[in-house]
C-alpha cells in the first residue's frame, strides 16, 4: 500500500510540475472568464451616447426619427452640414446622416459601428414602410395587431408535487456541456495514462520497478496519480474561472449596472445569470454526478488505455487496439444530440445504464430529470465496470510491459489473459 502511494505521488508530481500543465491550467480559466465577461463589456462600451446630425432635402424622415437610449438625432441645416463635413473633428456630433430622395449616406470621421448603422437603418425602414402603408390606405394598427409572438412556459412537477419552472434550453446546454466535458476528460487523461505506460516501456525502466512492486500496483498507481491530476486541474479551472471572472466583473463593470441587474447585494452578476438560466435544474446533483462520472468513467477507460499502452512499443502502434475503446466513446458523443431530443427513450435509458456509454449519456440525460433508481443503477454498474476492466487490463498489462519488439495481435492478448500469475 505504501509503495502504491509512492507511485501515485510520483505520477502526480511529475505531471503537475510540467510547464504544459501549468500553462493549460492557467490559460483555460482566463479563456473561460473572458467568454463570460467580454460580452458584458462589449454591451457596456456600446452604451455611449451618439449625437447624429440629420440633413434631408425632399423627404420628411427627421420628424419621425426617434431618439433611443444611445442615439440622439438633431436636424441640421445646410450651413451646419457643411461645417460638419469640412471639420468633423471640431464638431460635437459623431456622424451626419444625409437623406436625398432614395439615397441614404452617413458621414463620419471614423468608421461607425455596425450596431449603430443597423439601428438607424431599421428606423428608416420602419418609417418608410409606415409611410407607404399610409399612402396605400392601410391602417398600421391592423398590421401591428396581427403580429403574434408566443412563448411557452415549461414547468416540471417534482416528486413532492411542487412545480418548478424549467428551461429546456438550459437543460440542453448543461447536458451538452457536461457530456462533452466527460468525453474530453476521458480522452485527455486516458491517453495520458497510455503515454505514461509506453514511456516506461520505451525507457526500459519498467522491469526495474516491477522487481520492487507488483505490475498491478504500478498500473493502479499510475491511473490514480493521473486521476488526481485531472481532479486538480478541473477544480483549479472551476475556482480560477470564478475568481477571474468576479475580479474582472468588479474591475470592468460599473457597480451601478450590477445593482441594476440584480436585487440581492451578495450575489454577483454571473451567478445571478446562471441562476436565472438554470432555474429548476438541480445543479448540485449535476455537479456531484459530474464528478462521479468523470472519475469512474475515467478510471474504467484508463485501465483499458493502460492495457493498450502495455501491449505496444510505440504510440504509433496503438491504433489497432484503440479502436474498440474509442468506439463506445465516440458513439456516445455522436448520440448526445439525438438522446437529448428524447431523453426518456429506450436508447437513452440503456445507453445511460451500460457502463461504457453511461458516463457521457447519463450526463446528457440528467438535466432533464432521471429517476433516482436509474441513476443509482447506472452508478453501481459503472463501478462494477471499472473493477472488471481493471482486472482484465491488469492481466494484459503484467505480460505486455515485459514484451519488447513484438507485434501483438488480438489472439496474443487473449492468450495473456489466460496466463497464470
Amino acid at each position: 500500500m505504501n509503495k502504491t502511494f509512492l507511485i501515485i505521488k510520483r505520477e502526480f508530481l511529475v505531471r503537475v510540475k510540467k510547464k504544459s500543465f501549468i500553462v493549460m491550467t492557467l490559460l483555460a480559466p482566463i479563456l473561460m472568464a473572458s467568454l463570460i465577461i467580454v460580452p458584458v463589456l462589449i454591451s457596456d462600451t456600446d452604451q455611449q451616447k451618439r449625437l447624429i446630425g440629420v440633413f434631408e432635402t425632399n423627404t420628411n424622415f427627421s420628424q419621425e426619427l426617434e431618439d433611443s437610449e444611445n442615439i440622439h438625432f438633431t436636424i441640421f441645416d445646410e450651413t451646419e452640414m457643411n461645417s460638419f463635413i469640412n471639420n468633423p473633428e471640431l464638431s460635437d456630433y459623431y456622424a451626419l446622416l444625409k437623406i436625398e430622395d432614395e439615397s441614404y449616406t452617413i458621414f463620419s470621421n471614423q468608421q461607425i459601428s455596425l450596431n449603430l448603422r443597423k439601428a438607424i437603418e431599421k428606423q428608416l425602414e420602419q418609417i418608410s414602410e409606415r409611410n407607404k402603408l399610409k399612402h396605400a390606405g392601410i391602417d398600421i394598427k391592423i398590421i401591428q395587431d396581427a403580429k403574434t409572438k408566443i412563448t411557452i412556459n415549461t414547468k416540471i412537477i417534482t416528486s413532492d408535487g411542487d412545480t418548478t419552472s424549467s428551461s429546456t434550453e438550459a437543460s440542453i446546454g448543461i447536458g451538452f456541456i457536461t457530456g462533452i466535458l466527460i468525453y474530453m476528460f476521458i480522452f485527455m487523461y486516458g491517453t495520458m495514462v497510455m503515454r505514461g505506460v509506453i514511456e516506461e516501456k520505451t525507457n526500459r525502466i519498467v522491469e526495474i520497478i516491477i522487481s520492487s512492486v507488483k505490475p498491478f500496483q504500478l498500473m493502479i498507481g499510475k491511473i490514480l496519480g493521473v486521476a488526481l491530476v485531472g481532479l486538480t486541474q478541473f477544480i483549479l479551472w472551476v475556482c480560477l474561472t470564478i475568481l477571474i471572472s468576479s475580479i474582472a466583473e468588479t474591475m470592468f463593470v460599473s457597480s451601478e449596472e450590477i445593482s441594476n441587474s440584480i436585487n440581492s447585494a451578495d450575489q454577483s452578476l454571473i451567478f445571478n445569470e446562471i441562476n436565472k438560466l438554470t432555474g429548476g435544474i438541480d445543479l448540485l446533483l449535476i455537479f456531484f454526478s459530474f464528478l462521479f462520472y468523470f472519475l469512474f468513467g475515467y478510471l474504467m477507460y484508463s485501465a483499458l488505455f493502460a492495457a493498450v499502452g502495455s501491449a505496444v512499443d510505440a504510440e504509433a502502434d496503438t491504433q489497432q487496439f484503440m479502436l474498440p475503446i474509442t468506439i463506445p466513446l465516440i458513439f456516445s458523443f455522436i448520440l448526445i444530440q439525438p438522446i437529448m431530443d428524447n431523453p426518456d427513450g429506450v436508447l437513452a435509458f440503456w445507453m445511460s445504464i451500460i457502463p461504457l456509454t453511461s458516463p457521457i449519456i447519463m450526463m446528457a440525460r440528467l438535466p432533464f430529470g432521471v429517476e433516482s433508481w436509474e441513476l443509482i443503477l447506472s452508478m453501481l454498474l459503472l463501478i462494477i465496470g471499472f473493477i472488471f476492466t481493471t482486472f482484465i487490463a491488469g492481466k494484459i498489462y503484467r505480460t505486455g510491459i515485459l514484451m519488447y519488439g513484438k507485434k501483438i495481435s488480438y489472439r496474443e492478448l487473449w492468450k495473456w489473459l489466460t496466463y497464470k500469475d
Binding site: V14, I205, E207, I208, I210, S211, K420
Partner: protein, 297 residues
C-alpha cells in the same frame, strides 16, 4: 546445505504452448559470484524474473535463505535487468530516491546511502541533472547504484557491463568484487565469456529451458579437460605417429590429441626426437569452449 543462499528446484514456466523453463535447477552458494550462462532464448531472463518474483513458476519451488521465496524477500534482492533504463525527464537524485524507496527504504536512509554511493563513484554533481542530459554510460552507473543501494543479500546482474567503456567497466567490476567480499551473493548473466572466467566462482549453463551444467567453475573445467595439447615446433611439417592425432594446424602450431593418457611422455619424446620443440602446453578448456561444445550438441 546451509551455505546455499538461493536454490531453484525443478522450476517449470510455460507461456501458453511455449515452455520457457523445463525443470531448471540452480543452487547459488552464499558469497559467491554465480554465472548464469546460456544462448539467447534459453530461459535465463525467465529464471531471473522468477527469482525477482516478477512472475511465478508454474511448478517447482524457489528457496531463499532457507525458506520459500516470498514477498518479504523483495528488499533482499537487487536486480539489474538487461532491458534497463530510467525516466528521462526526471532528475537523477529524485529518481534514485524514488527507486530506493520503492525497494522499501525510508527517505532518510535512502538519501544517506545515495550520498555515500554518489561520492564513491564521483557522480555527486549529477544529482540535479535530468537523466536525458546524461550519456548512456552515466545512466548505467545510476542504475548500478539504485540496484545495490538497499544492500540486498542477493544481487542479480543481467549483462552489467553493456554500455560501459573499459574504464567504467572495470570500476563496476571492482565494485561487484567488493560487494562479494562484504558477503553479498551475486548472480551474473552475460554473453561475455572472458568476464565469466574472470569473476565467477560457480556457473550454470541453461539451454533449451533446461539446466545442462552446474557447479564450481574449476570442477566444470576439469570435467571438460581432454588430452589435447598445443605444440609449436620449428617446422611446418609434424611427423605422424600412432600415439597422437593432429587435430588442426596453423603454420608451425599444431593441436594434437594424445590417444592414451599414459603415452604423453612417449609422444613428447617422439616429437622431440624429430623436431625442435618451441612450446608444448596443455589446452585448457575455456568456458567459451565448454559453452560452444555443450550448447552445440
Amino acid at each position: 546445505m546451509n551455505d546455499t543462499l538461493l536454490s531453484a528446484e525443478n522450476v517449470v514456466k510455460k507461456y501458453g504452448d511455449y515452455t520457457a523453463l523445463n525443470k531448471a535447477n540452480i543452487s547459488v552458494p552464499k558469497s559467491s559470484i554465480y554465472g548464469l550462462l546460456g544462448p539467447n532464448g534459453a530461459g535465463k531472463t525467465t529464471l531471473m524474473r522468477i527469482i525477482n518474483q516478477i512472475t511465478a513458476p508454474d511448478s517447482g519451488r524457489v528457496l531463499f535463505d532457507g525458506g520459500l521465496l516470498n514477498k518479504e524477500h523483495i528488499k533482499e534482492i537487487g536486480y539489474l535487468p538487461e532491458e534497463r533504463g530510467l525516466y528521462k525527464k526526471m532528475k537523477v537524485g529524485d529518481q534514485a530516491l524514488y527507486l530506493a524507496q520503492l525497494k522499501g527504504m525510508s527517505y532518510g536512509e535512502a538519501i544517506k546511502k545515495l550520498r555515500f554511493w554518489f561520492e564513491k563513484l564521483d557522480i555527486t554533481s549529477w544529482w540535479h541533472k535530468k537523466v536525458e542530459e546524461l550519456s548512456k554510460g552515466m545512466a548505467q552507473k545510476i542504475q548500478f547504484v539504485v540496484t545495490v543501494i538497499h544492500q540486498p543479500k542477493l544481487l542479480i546482474f543481467d549483462e552489467p557491463f553493456s554500455g560501459f567503456d573499459p574504464i567504467n567497466a572495470s570500476i563496476i567490476r571492482d565494485e561487484i568484487l567488493n560487494l562479494r567480499k562484504n558477503g553479498t551473493t551475486i548472480i551474473f548473466s552475460t554473453h561475455r565469456m572472458e568476464s565469466v572466467e574472470e569473476i565467477c566462482d560457480h556457473i550454470a549453463l541453461i539451454n533449451k529451458s533446461k539446466t545442462i551444467l552446474e557447479g564450481p567453475i574449476n570442477k566444470i573445467k576439469a570435467e571438460f579437460q581432454d588430452e589435447n595439447y598445443e605444440v609449436i615446433i620449428d617446422s611446418n611439417q609434424l611427423r605422424n605417429s600412432e600415439r597422437f592425432d593432429v587435430l588442426s594446424q596453423n603454420k608451425n602450431k599444431f593441436e594434437i590429441k594424445i590417444n592414451s593418457k599414459n603415452e604423453l611422455k612417449e609422444a613428447i619424446d617422439f616429437i622431440n626426437q624429430n623436431h625442435n620443440i618451441i612450446s608444448f602446453k596443455k589446452n585448457l578448456a575455456s568456458i567459451e569452449d565448454i559453452f560452444i561444445k555443450t550448447v552445440g550438441k
